[in-house]
């Protein structure tokens, strides 16, 4: 069935900068905000933008992510003539095609695009926290008859070095592009959201099979810019975070704690962020529980003190434990008399009695490094 616009989500990246947290899971499956996974945001945006054909390009530890997404029903993406397709690496003539960079992944699955005769292809990342109506970007794209539209958002100067930076004129036409510049000329960062005319994308990808590694940010965008395609920017103004690092993941969690109306997650109008239901009972606060300035997900049992922290689902915090400025990912067990500050506790970690870790800089506690980063108070 012919579509004017389809989406492809790149979830292949290992997220090596998130080390322990992505040890066993793809980055988009990482938990955020007590009950969400990073991929929830992109999938929910797609649903609310009425884009029903979604290809998910996965490579690294795809099982948990695939299991989580299932048929996409939780995001209403299980329609009869649409839905989510998992595009995993496959063997071609006995030769395993491990993806070599983000653009290569799309190249390998270009048949998916062709199958729907889509005129435009939206390329998304699966690990950003934001709410965005892609239809508005699409309108912008059509309005300017762009060959390629790149969503951009203004960032702080300090952050600018992490991103591809875009210069654009009053009509939003792109007049300059730099990937991770040392001395940024603008504060408009590329959000890694690209909307291509299918023909243009096909031309740009042509022949990249021979290359060692091809990325959109590093290779394709500069190439398009230099080959004089019509590139436009779609300036986005809402909250947006690429949580590619421990610090940014921690900070985004703290943003959610500090802003009562963070992304309007609790409102039933506009884009709503769907998440797969875990069928958990509501959380319980026992006699000794004290919770302030925090968010708590379902299935948790709290008998300790939680200050300014995010507590994932099915987490237990026992008596006389004190958690402050921390992120407990789901299914953590905190025994009695534990003191934690400034930490991220990885999913499923059991923190033993009398453990303490008052960190100055954010530390990830995992089963593997538990006794290295903290200690038992005798």
């Amino acid at each position: 069935m012919k579509r004017s616009l389809i989406a492809m989500i790149l979830v292949g990246g290992k997220g090596s900068r998130l080390n322990e947290i992505t040890k066993d899971t793809a980055k988009p499956a990482v938990s955020f905000g007590a009950k969400y996974r990073l991929i929830d945001f992109t999938l929910s945006n797609l649903t609310h933008s009425n884009i029903e054909i979604v290809g998910l390009i996965t490579q690294y530890e795809p099982y948990e992510l695939m299991n989580y997404i299932g048929n996409g029903g939780s995001w209403d993406l299980d329609t009869i003539d649409g839905g989510i397709s998992f595009l995993t690496p496959y063997a071609k003539s006995g030769n395993v095609q491990w993806q070599k960079g983000t653009a290569h992944a799309v190249y390998q699955y270009f048949n998916f695009v062709k199958q729907y005769e889509a005129e435009h292809v939206l390329i998304l990342a699966g690990d950003h926290i934001y709410k965005m109506d892609y239809q508005k970007m699409f309108e912008h794209h059509l309005e300017h008859d762009a060959d390629l539209t790149i969503a951009s958002v203004d960032v702080d100067l300090a952050e600018a070095k992490r991103f591809g930076m875009i210069e654009y004129d009053q009509t939003t036409k792109i007049i300059g592009f730099e990937e991770k510049p040392k001395n940024p000329k603008t504060l408009h960062a590329s959000m890694g959201i690209y909307l291509f005319k299918t023909g243009v994308l096909e031309k740009l990808l042509n022949g990249i099979d021979q290359e060692e590694s091809v990325d959109f940010g590093k290779d394709i965008i500069p190439k398009a810019f230099h080959e004089n395609y019509q590139l436009y920017s779609y300036p986005f103004t809402g909250y947006w975070r690429d949580v590619g690092t421990i610090d940014s993941l921690y900070q985004a969690n703290m943003d959610m704690l500090d802003d009562r109306h963070f992304l309007s997650l609790n409102e039933s109008k506009g884009i709503q962020i769907y998440s797969k239901s875990m069928n958990l009972p509501p959380h319980v606060v026992l006699e000794d529980g004290i919770i302030k300035k925090s968010i708590i997900a379902d299935g948790s049992i709290i008998d300790g003190t939680i200050i300014h922290s995010s507590v994932g689902y099915q987490t237990v915090v026992m008596k006389n434990s004190h958690i402050e400025d921390s992120v407990l990912l789901p299914q953590v067990f905190i025994s009695e008399n534990v003191r934690l500050k400034n930490v991220i506790v990885n999913k499923g970690v059991i923190i033993p009695e009398n453990y303490y870790l008052i960190a100055k800089k954010v530390v990830v506690i995992d089963n593997s490094n538990l006794m290295e980063v903290g200690a038992i108070d005798e």
Partner: protein, 811 residues
């Protein structure tokens, strides 16, 4: 594949009152994020049951919205799945449990189901059970029917039976003496019964108190573990809400908080639903706060069930007690403890003037309101007979010129304060200086003028009333007049229908006479009641069953559409009886008596009645009585054929007091002539003392075609005289069918408006009285006398309704 299929009994209505106005019990929120039916459906999924039928009654929109395709419970299947089998006959009354008749409506479902055994279980039960364990017990014991009991021995209305046997009952439901599986289990002698005791936590929830108890027990870890077993999770509809958020001043102890809740206040021992907001300085104790409630700053809530989206305003106090929970209605706004000021406007009121039950109700409510701390006033016309009797007590308050049509009329306002209730009387030479209350050619003008004059005197109140409560059609123009009145337009209006057959149809010219010139009206006449129902903020009637019946054209006739349109604002509140009516203090009867000496004293009254009526004297006669208007409504079309047959039995007597339509009277006279020693008609209201009949008869007949509320049955209950009634209106709400096995119930009732059904119940009563076990009969009489329908209870219900109205955004 599993060899079980499931019938979810959602026909049970329970007595949830407000909480089931917009939903059925199965859809009741529970445990902060669930609905009751989630437990039964999750048990099906966890037991591997894939074929489920839900039999709902009435309004199941909320239930079917919740269930959706059933995919949450793996019940969205190609083969089997979930079926909501709606009632085909909307007139079937809700019963204690699903009847074979109800199943027969969908017998195809049972025939088509491929599984050999069926579980029948209610939608309103909270537990975590594996139905296969019940099946194993059933098979091991080679039982025909297995009933599931709680570990405390409570019956859970849950049965396992083979499809073949169940189909047998369903097919033959019309010939069976058992209506449902409970009766089969209790009475069928020929089948092999088995009881399966469920050892874990379970709650059959059919009242707000059960709901409260079950919710509170979730606060015990033990119960939580039994209900929320990770191996058998409870599934619920997927909803979106962010995790719960706690503010800086949050203080929560021993509570369950659902996702999306925002907690900034203090919470103790409570269940907080999804997206509920508890603001700073607010306190919630021992309460159930359902989804999306908002508790504003400084509010205090204890022992309450707040239905979805209730808003409690700043500093409001809501205090129930364990025995008297505060229950809000969905979307109610609970205001602070501001004083209620209620003005009733009616054309008759006890003790001043009375033609019928309306006056009793208005008068008794007014007095009870004062006792409940409500500022209570009544406004009514000043009839000469009132003036004659109360002249020295009346205080002249104000005079006004009321423009009605083109003519200026003088009206005078008098007041009389009695036991904290203010009675206001409007005197008008032109309209009210007459001997009778009703029955004049210009009744429409008279009561339209009265309505206008009432509004003209509204200034007499230092503070305007919160609610003006009007009764029946006479004051039907008032809601519209109030809406159009600059001063009064914020006052809420409640209109109570006492009998929808009297609507007040009068010339359209009245509209312009009262100054409503801008109303477009196409008909020659206006209907006072219709105008009232259209414009009152809220409407009510005098019993829950009459409320339900009015949805059907059979009862509400030309007004059926408007009744259904206003369904959301329509309430049923049962009238009660004045406490003064009591055989213990009734000096007009032969001998006074109470529950203690009824069995020795009542026969003396019976003997006296027989003597007074010139009937054969003796306790071997079964004495039936009636005090009634002799009109079609009261059931004479079925009574007369029934009497013709039933009176032929030699030990039956019948006494009637009343007046009415001649053709009924002459038909009755013919029967009377046939049995002069056993039947006596007293035609005319004063023909005899009605209490001779209430005190002397064994049974009291009310085969009414419809009966909005009725008081005679309440009087006869108090006098230990057993009512035999048709199951309609207030009769249905006050009379519970007597069951000689459980010895529960206070009378006899039948549903179909049919002589045969009346005779059947007459025969039932006769058998019990003449041939039955004396202890059983005595228990029935005790039950009857213990029934308590007091106007005090009605007054409390109305006060709650007024509060709901004040808190609602309706106009």
């Amino acid at each position: 594949m599993n060899n079980l299929f499931m019938v979810v009994d959602a026909t049970i209505k329970g007595s949830f009152n407000k909480l089931t106005r917009h939903r059925m019990p199965g859809a009741m929120p529970f445990g902060a994020k669930y609905r009751l039916i989630d437990f039964t459906l999750s048990n099906c999924k966890n037991s591997g049951i894939r074929n489920v039928a839900i039999f709902p009654y009435g309004n199941y929109r909320s239930l079917s919205d919740h269930i959706g395709s059933g995919d949450r419970w793996d019940l969205s299947r190609r083969k089997d799945g979930i079926f909501i089998l709606q009632p085909k006959n909307l007139n079937l009354k809700s019963e204690d449990s699903i009847s074979f008749q109800r199943m027969y409506e969908h017998i195809e479902y049972f025939i088509r189901s491929a599984q050999d055994y069926v579980i029948v279980s209610p939608a309103n039960i909270v537990w975590n059970i594996d139905y296969n364990d019940v099946l194993v017990s059933h098979l091991n014991r080679e039982a025909d029917i297995t009933e599931v009991l709680s570990f405390e021995g409570q019956r859970l209305k849950t049965f396992l039976i083979s499809k073949t046997l169940l189909l047998n009952y369903i097919k033959n439901y019309d010939d069976l003496q058992y209506r449902n599986l409970t009766e089969v289990y209790d009475y069928s002698p020929s089948i092999h019964k088995n009881a399966y005791v469920f050892e874990s936590a379970c709650f059959l929830i059919d009242s707000p108190y059960e709901l409260f108890k079950a919710n509170m027990s979730l606060l015990s870890m033990d119960t939580r573990h039994q209900l929320f077993n990770p191996q058998h999770p409870i599934f619920s509809k997927e909803t979106m809400s962010s995790p719960s958020r706690y503010g800086e001043e949050a203080f929560v102890k021993n509570s369950i908080i659902a996702s999306g809740a925002v907690i900034e206040g203090a919470i103790f021992n409570s269940i907080i639903g999804r997206k509920a907001i508890v603001k700073k300085g607010a306190t919630v104790k021992n309460s159930i706060i359902m989804n999306q409630c908002v508790i504003e700053e400084g509010a205090f809530i204890e022992h309450a069930i707040l239905d979805k989206e209730t808003k409690v305003m700043s500093n409001a106090k809501v205090m129930g007690s364990p025995d008297d929970l505060f229950i809000s209605e969905k979307k109610q706004i609970v205001v602070g403890d501001e004083e209620l000021k209620i003005l009733q406007i009616a054309v008759e009121c006890e003790p001043f003037v009375k033609t019928g039950g309306l006056a009793d109700v208005v008068g008794a409510l007014a007095q009870n309101y004062s006792k409940l701390g409500v500022q209570s006033s009544v406004m009514m016309p000043l009839y000469p007979r009132i003036k004659a009797k109360y002249q020295i007590l009346l205080e002249m308050r104000s005079e006004a010129i009321v423009l009605y049509g083109d003519i200026k009329y003088k009206a005078t306002l008098y007041s009389y304060l009695n036991q904290n209730t203010n009675y206001y009387f409007i005197e008008s030479y032109d309209f009210f200086d007459r001997d009778e209350i009703y029955g004049y050619y210009d009744d429409g003008d008279r009561f339209a003028f009265f309505s206008k004059a009432c509004l003209g005197f509204i200034d007499i109140f230092d503070e305007l009333p919160n609610v003006i409560h009007i009764h029946d059609w006479h004051t039907g123009l008032l809601p519209l007049l109030i809406k159009k009145d600059e001063k009064a337009k914020h006052i809420k209006t409640l209109m109570t229908i006492h009998n929808i057959d009297y609507q007040g149809v009068h010339p359209t010219a009245i509209l312009s006479k009262v100054g409503l010139n801008d109303i477009v009206h196409y008909h020659q006449t206006i209907n006072f009641m219709e105008l009232g129902l259209n414009n009152a903020s809220t409407i009510s009637t005098v019993s829950q069953t009459y409320h339900d019946e009015l949805r059907y054209e059979y009862y509400s006739k030309n007004l059926v559409e408007i009744i259904n349109r206003r369904d959301r604002d329509f309430y049923g509140i049962l009238n009660g009886l004045s406490d003064e009516i009591d055989p213990l203090t009734d000096l007009s009867i032969k001998v006074t008596y109470g529950p203690k000496n009824v069995f020795t004293m009542k026969p003396q009254n019976k003997k006296f009645l027989q003597q007074t009526m010139n009937l054969s004297v003796g306790d071997e006669f079964f004495m039936m009585g009636m005090v009634t208007r002799i009109v079609e409504q009261k059931g004479f079309d079925i009574l007369i054929p029934a009497l013709e047959e039933f009176m032929s039995q030699p030990n039956v007597q019948f006494v009637l007091l009343g007046t009415g339509e001649e053709h009924y009277i002459s038909a009755l006279r013919k029967i009377e002539a046939r049995y002069p020693n056993r039947m006596k008609l007293n035609i005319g209201y004063d023909a005899t003392n009605p209490f001779y009949i209430y005190a002397g008869a064994d049974a009291f007949l009310m085969p009414s075609r419809f009966e909005p509320c009725g008081t005679s049955q309440m009087i006869s209950l108090k006098y230990g005289t057993i009512p035999i009634v048709r199951q309609t209106g207030g009769l249905n709400d006050t009379i519970e069918q007597f069951d000689s096995v459980s010895k529960k119930g206070n009378g006899f009732k039948f549903y179909n408006y049919d002589s045969r059904d009346l005779i059947f119940q007459l025969q039932n009563a006769l058998n019990l009285f003449m041939n039955g076990d004396q202890t059983v009969k005595h228990q029935l009489i005790r039950n009857a006398m213990a029934s308590n329908f007091s106007l005090e209870v009605s007054a409390k219900s109305y006060v709650e309704l007024y509060k709901t109205m004040i808190g609602s955004s309706n106009r």
